[in-house]
């Protein structure tokens, strides 16, 4: 699952013309911030694995490994989005299985 993400990460970084305003560090901040806010949006349905990926992204970024940092941030964002989708779905889905509604 990581390999394709990494591949996408690399190809994206290459395709962006170097003169683009934000270098790889810029994109990372953006993705990382979005992942964080989406993670907050999950409320009581946050996943532990999302916070793990966010931590991994931050430590990779701090140690200058931008490629890994970006991959981790993207994964965190994907997981955060899935947890938000879960929260929204469960708003009503639980009634179908609850004994006595």
């Amino acid at each position: 699952m990581n390999k394709p993400l990494l591949a996408i990460g690399i190809s994206l970084a290459l395709s962006v013309p170097l003169a683009a305003q934000g270098g790889p560090k810029e994109d990372f901040q953006e993705v990382y911030a979005k992942a964080q806010s989406t993670h907050q949006d999950a409320g009581n349905f946050q996943w532990t694995i999302t916070s793990d990926r966010l931590k991994a992204a931050k430590s990779a970024a701090d140690s200058g490994d931008h490629e890994k940092a970006m991959a981790m941030a993207k994964e965190a964002l994907k997981l955060a989005e899935e947890s938000v989708a879960q929260r929204k779905k469960q708003k009503e889905a639980w009634r179908q299985v609850a004994i006595g509604n």
């Binding site: 009581n44 349905f45 879960q86 469960q90 639980w94 609850a98 006595g100």
Partner: protein, 279 residues
Amino acid sequence: MLKAKVILVALGAALAVPQALAGASPEEDRKESVEYFKQMFPDVPFEEFVNGQYALNEDRRKQWESMQDFPPYEFAVAEGQELFETPFANGKTYASCFENGGIGIRQNYPYFDTEKNEVITLELAINRCREANGEEPLKWKKGAIASISAYMASTSQGKPINIKVPDDPEALAAYQDGKKFYYSRRGQLNFSCASCHVQNPGKWIRADFLSPALGQPANFPVHRAKWGELGTLHRRFAGCNNNVRAEPLPAQSEEYRNLEYFLTYMSNGLPVVGPATRP
């Protein structure tokens, strides 16, 4: 004798979970839930549900019985009694905060406080009593609070659980919130409490034998072999959430108290058997 009937369990799983009735009352929910588990395990007597997996698996029950012969939590309960009876700096003791001096009341917890509009669990009441007497609150999940709660539970052995949901919109809302939490799938594994404890009790999940929801809160606080010590119900909630990769909520958070309120109500009528040992 109590062999888990695989055929029955299969039948149980296939049992169409009773269609959601519009706005069923807590008591209707409870009756339906008891009926559901009775059909799933027809040869398990009602009181036996408090023993969870030990009512369904002979090999596990034998191990449990040898543990209960001289349970490792005896030291903690003795310590809990000593702490319970040790006066605070201001001279008062826990007994002053509880009806009947805190003896034989575990079966009434948690209850809904209609003035403060919140669920009061036994552990919350213990710490509120400390704060009212100028003492520092204890940690929620283990240690002294688990020992004191275990001692108080031991004074209620055998008393039927008696949780009330008054006809009060706030109380009903708390009950409903707990129920919603119980049935909502969460975490990356996308399980709800019900996925294991309503739809699949009596089955193995890897090397663990799933217990039915009915009767679960009756044996808390619990001494788990895994912890090697006593732990409160909210420690168990957090552990389960973590297992399905859902971020656990803080112990004694409103969500966990509402969850305890719903879950304990479902066990009304079953005897308090806490503290107890579990894997």
